[in-house]
């Protein structure tokens, strides 16, 4: 299978039994059947494998692809995941799970980001059936994920992440969301006021005197656990997102990030980044602010769709500064 950039994705012919293709990326093999996605690798001369429910696997892979492998680690579950080196990406199985790693049964390989992205996109494309949206909340996702191969849902998996240059609504910048451009108000935010701020710009200053309704913008998000960028101050990015049910991955930080809970509540399970050992549980309610240190992995649980402002620092050399110990993993001492 060849992509537009002439990157060769290693894919099998469709299975006669299920209709799904299998894929190979270095020493990793990916296959799926009616219910399960399976990742296989060799370690100590034996074949190892790890299975996930196919819907959970696709939800995780959808975020990894949409986020461009994100900042740091994207753990699909305790065993498999990716680590972003910004140009190359590690794929691992068991490397951050002590039972595998301590027995030498884990496997990690580093790939060019373009090859891994092309492979992951091909897997998503082939394994996502019509009637399943891996980006959506459970009530909206559909149950077409199981069974034999049944069409595609490319409209769902090819959504572009929305990132402004300065602020949405400014001339030449990201668009605001509306019914007209395909963003109706989500059922869980039907009570969110849609009023616009009053903007009175003097002639010539229309591009600088600007405001928009951020909460209305978020109420029209059609996906969950997928940050947009809605303001840029130097390297500081405000990345609000709407969250419902469970974050499909455990995000391992390579830098400090911050959460500002704008509405409702989310419960975060915090684990050690390298071992998965539990460290804390953080319950955030509307108005709460908390740092996520650089040495943790975290997974969120939201019983009702909520608005979360994720605040990131995109300074390029941050991972090295934290990894080398030049920066402490927590943001402030008091």
């Amino acid at each position: 299978m060849s992509t537009a950039e002439s990157i060769e994705v290693q894919a099998s012919a469709p299975s006669n039994q299920t209709g799904y293709r299998s894929f190979t990326l270095g020493g990793f093999s990916f296959s799926r059947d009616e219910y399960f996605a399976r990742v296989s690798w060799m370690a100590k001369g034996q074949q190892m494998s790890h299975s996930m429910s196919a819907d959970a696997f696709l939800r995780a892979m959808m975020r990894d692809v949409a986020w461009g492998f994100f900042y740091g680690w994207v753990n699909f579950d305790p065993v498999i995941g990716t680590r972003n080196h910004y140009g190359t990406v590690d794929m691992y199985a068991g490397s951050y799970y002590p039972a595998y790693r301590d027995s030498g049964l884990d496997h990690m390989e580093n790939f060019d980001s373009r090859l891994m992205m092309a492979t992951f996109k091909a897997i998503l494309d082939d394994w996502t059936n019509e009637g399943f949206d891996p980006f959506a909340a459970p009530e909206e996702a559909g149950d077409g994920w199981h069974g034999k191969k049944n069409g595609h849902n490319r409209a769902a998996i090819e959504r572009a992440r929305e990132a402004c240059h300065r602020m949405p609504g400014l001339p030449g910048d990201a668009s605001l969301r509306s019914d007209a451009n395909g963003f109706p108000i989500n059922r869980a935010f039907a009570d969110v006021p849609q009023d616009a701020p009053e903007v009175y710009a003097e002639p010539g200053f229309e591009a600088e005197v600007s405001a928009f309704n951020l909460f209305a913008f978020l109420s029209r998000s059609d996906v969950t656990w997928n940050p947009s960028v809605t303001s840029v101050c130097g390297r500081s990015l405000a990345c609000p997102t709407t969250e419902e049910y469970i974050l499909p991955i455990k995000h391992g930080n390579d830098r400090v990030e911050w959460f500002v809970q704008l509405s409702d509540q989310i419960e975060w399970e915090i684990e050690d980044k390298h071992t998965g050992s539990p460290r804390a549980k953080v319950l955030m309610k509307a108005g709460d602010v908390a740092a996520m240190p650089a040495d943790i992995r975290h997974q969120g649980f939201a019983r009702k769709r909520s608005m979360l402002l994720v605040w990131e620092n995109a300074t390029p050399n941050l991972p090295e500064l934290y990894e080398s110990g030049q920066l402490k993993p927590w943001p402030v001492e008091f």
Binding site: N213, S263, G287, W330
Partner: protein, 166 residues
């Protein structure tokens, strides 16, 4: 019938979450609540509630009229409770206000010289651009709260020991 109710906080009505520690230090999370912070703040005191290597998010109590501020970079305000009116002036001489090394909101002693740019009236959920090279002033007829995304500047107040869970 929609059965969902979205919960926002306010100065008068908020619930604070918390941290259950298994094997950790709660101070690593610098956990605070912006409404609690604003309830303990002076009007327009710019209290850092998040900091990341020179960048900050400040929680600001809206009450009455602020002084004038300007910044050598864009800043952004999000109203979390109440209503605020923001007036803008295009600085006639930015070099009289800040240098190339300046960061964050610079408080001005008086209304600066420049051209009126207009104004914005913003309520809960609204985000306002505070553009580079402009001076701005806030007016609120009742108390409220806003967040400001900016850089750590001369007006930023750090009082982590008073606002964070320990």
């Amino acid at each position: 019938m929609n059965s969902f109710q979205t919960t926002f906080g306010s100065l008068q009505d908020y619930e604070k979450g918390g941290i259950e520690i298994v094997a950790d230090n709660p101070m690593y999370y610098a956990f605070s609540n912006i409404f609690e912070v604003a309830n303990q703040s002076a009007p327009y005191e710019k209290v850092a509630v998040a900091v990341n290597l020179g960048y900050v998010i400040e929680a600001v109590r809206l009450e009455g009229q602020s002084g004038w501020y300007a910044a050598p970079h864009d800043e952004f305000a999000i109203v979390m409770d109440g209503e605020v009116e923001v007036h803008f002036i295009k600085l006639a001489d930015p070099t009289a206000v800040y240098t190339d090394d300046s960061k964050g909101s610079i408080p001005l002693a008086a209304q600066p010289a420049g051209t009126p740019m207009g104004r914005v009236v913003a309520r809960r959920g609204h985000q306002v651009l505070l553009p580079e090279g402009a001076a701005y002033r806030f007016t609120a007829h009742s108390v409220g709260v806003m967040l400001i995304q900016t850089m750590d500047g001369p007006a930023t107040v750090h009082k982590w020991g008073q606002i964070c869970l320990k």
